[in-house]
């Protein structure tokens, strides 16, 4: 169960606004969370607190394959992202790094910024002050990757053994 305060964003939040390319080639990876979502809200990284939840419209994470977009969000302390829909590479990158994503149709209409919402990953139910939104839960093997903490950990516990 994930419970947290909501930050709201619109449709088509692309990877260039999540983390502009100029910060990517950095030897010091701690700069990424400092600039997270700077393209839409330059103050976001100073406002977000560990455990907060992002709620967005459709096509969240569209654009480039840069994994730094998922990492910047995760390392900023965001506990989960709930959106109407996700772009597919971002979707994979988030799961692969242990950042929970929930695709919940209608979520952006009933949730306000600052609301506290609750997510049940197993059932796919999102509880909001204005009622519940049911989403399709992730397929079991993706939940496995998520529970492992990401694809690297998953590889260490599953794939590596199978290879032997």
């Amino acid at each position: 169960m994930i419970k947290g305060r909501v930050w709201k964003f619109g449709d088509d939040i692309d990877t260039d606004v999540i983390i502009p390319a100029k910060y990517l080639r950095s030897v010091d990876q701690s700069v990424w969370p400092k600039h997270v979502l700077e393209g839409v809200d330059p103050e976001f990284s100073s406002k977000v607190r560990p455990g907060d939840i992002i709620v967005a419209g459709k096509n969240f994470g569209c654009g480039s394959s840069r994994e730094q977009a998922a990492l910047a969000i995760k390392w900023a302390g965001v506990a989960a992202v709930v959106a109407e829909s996700f772009a597919r590479i971002f979707f994979r990158n988030a799961i692969n790094n242990g950042l929970p994503l929930i695709e919940a149709k209608g979520i952006s209409k009933i949730v306000e910024e600052g609301d506290v919402i609750e997510i049940d990953l197993d059932s796919g139910v999102v509880r909001t002050p204005k009622g519940e939104v049911k989403s399709v839960p992730l397929p079991p093997f993706l939940q496995d990757i998520l529970r492992s903490g990401g694809l690297v950990e998953y590889y260490k516990t599953h794939a590596k053994r199978d290879q032997k």
């Binding site: 088509d12 692309d14 990517l24 654009g63 394959s65 829909s85 597919r88 794939a159």
Partner: protein, 417 residues
């Protein structure tokens, strides 16, 4: 509904896995070829290290091409590249291409590393470009690619296919870029999410392989996994090799969209969204500070050739700067031999080192506060090419050249009387 008809993408994946699969199934699929670039390479190496993988499984079918920060614009970029270079040496990669060779999506097919019927994964979103060679290709993040390098396979959901039938013949000064912009307008920025796009019809059959690459390149701008185009003799000529050719059975596509290519006119994607597409004549006159001709979308020889036809004997407007970056060394050399580079230089344009150039907004032509660019690349998100307040129009090479000459968005048909 029980249907025996399969799409080309379903057939490629079925062939690879060894049993018949259909859209919607989650599968584990062997990967024939994988690649990444200097940018994503850093995180791929990180992930492999964390996984504890010392030797990758198939070094002969993995390529790294340096293209994003080429030549490096900062000490940090250079340091990270050195790390990737060292990794390439340690793993004994024969298909490692250091800076100066070109953009990965251009270099991989130019070298003939891929063939029709293959399953190809790349750590870059525009890996969908290679779908134009009759294969299945898609972009993933660095950790996914590391997993592929470690195991030789990956998971995916077999995608549904939207087949886009392009009827008629493109008119003069209208290119495959205009066509794909029009298709993006129709489908929208997320209309093909998790799906495959297949481009077909007489307009696509008539196109050069380079023009087809431009179409498939932008599939991801509609959220698609890949942009498939059936292979033919032109495909084989480009790659210098053939493979297994697959085509969709009639009626197999889950959705069909028809586009009248014959009535199409030059168009642009206006700032902010790739789907914000309008005919050039409706936005003619908007001021342009920078014109960019290049990228994996439109940096090939034919793109340079079409732009040079307009720039020959003319000058880039005094209030506008123009940057030309060939998509590969091979393109650069041919353009040089044929005198195209002279035409650009005499017109007052700058010609840059092959690679991504200013496409991603970090070097070689970043635009400033409130500046406007017209670009042959594929993305015009807020801040993509520079300052947050800057904006980008996406257009064909012809429209970019015409706009450079006039210093404002211009319909290229004015120059082709």
């Amino acid at each position: 509904m029980l249907s025996m008809a399969s799409t080309a993408v379903e057939k490629i994946i079925s062939d690879k896995i060894g049993r018949k699969v259909a859209a919607g199934e989650f599968v584990e699929c062997p990967v024939d070829f994988a690649y990444c670039h200097d940018g994503t390479g850093v995180l791929v190496i990180d992930a492999l290290k964390r996984m504890g993988v010392e030797r990758i499984k198939d070094p002969d079918n993995f390529s790294i091409v340096f293209d994003h920060s080429v030549p490096p614009y900062s000490d940090q970029a250079a340091t990270l590249q050195a790390r990737v270079r060292r990794f390439a040496r340690e793993q004994g990669l024969k298909k490692f291409h250091d800076m100066g060779e070109g953009i990965c999506h251009q270099v991989i097919p130019e070298k003939g590393y891929v063939a029709p019927g293959m399953v190809v994964f790349g750590a870059d979103s525009h890996t969908c470009t290679l779908g134009s060679f009759g294969l299945f290709s898609t972009g993933v993040g660095a950790t996914d690619l590391a997993f592929i390098l470690a195991t030789g396979e990956t998971w995916m959901k077999v995608p549904e296919t939207i087949r886009v039938e392009c009827k008629g013949a493109l008119s003069e000064a209208v290119s495959s870029k205009d066509l794909i912009l029009e298709i993006t307008r129709i489908i929208g920025t997320d209309g093909a999410t998790y799906k495959a796009l297949e481009f077909a019809g007489e307009a696509v059959r008539a196109m050069s392989q380079s023009s087809r690459m431009t179409m498939s390149n932008m599939a991801v701008e509609m959220g698609a996994k890949t942009g498939f185009i059936e292979a033919d003799e032109k495909t084989v000529a480009f790659l210098g090799r053939d493979g297994k050719r697959f085509s969709s059975d009639p009626g197999a596509a889950q959705e069909i969209i028809e586009v009248d290519a014959g009535s199409l006119e030059p168009c642009v994607a206006c700032p902010g969204s790739v789907a914000n597409v309008r005919p050039v004549r409706e936005v003619e006159g908007a001021h342009v500070d920078q014109a960019f001709l290049g990228s994996c979308t439109n940096g090939r020889y034919e793109d340079l050739y079409e732009a040079a036809r307009i720039l020959k004997g003319r000058k880039v407007h005094q209030d506008t700067r123009m940057i030309v970056v060939p998509a590969s060394k091979a393109v650069h050399m041919k353009a040089q031999r044929d005198g195209l580079l002279d035409i650009f230089l005499e017109a007052g344009a700058m010609v840059g080192v092959t690679g991504c150039g200013p496409c991603l907004g970090v070097h070689m032509g970043v635009i400033g506060e409130n500046e406007v660019a017209v670009s042959t690349s594929n993305r015009n998100f807020i801040g993509r090419m520079g300052a947050r307040s800057s904006s980008v129009y996406l257009a064909s090479p012809q429209t970019v050249a015409a706009s450079a000459v006039e210093g404002k968005i211009t319909d290229p048909r004015r120059f082709l009387r």
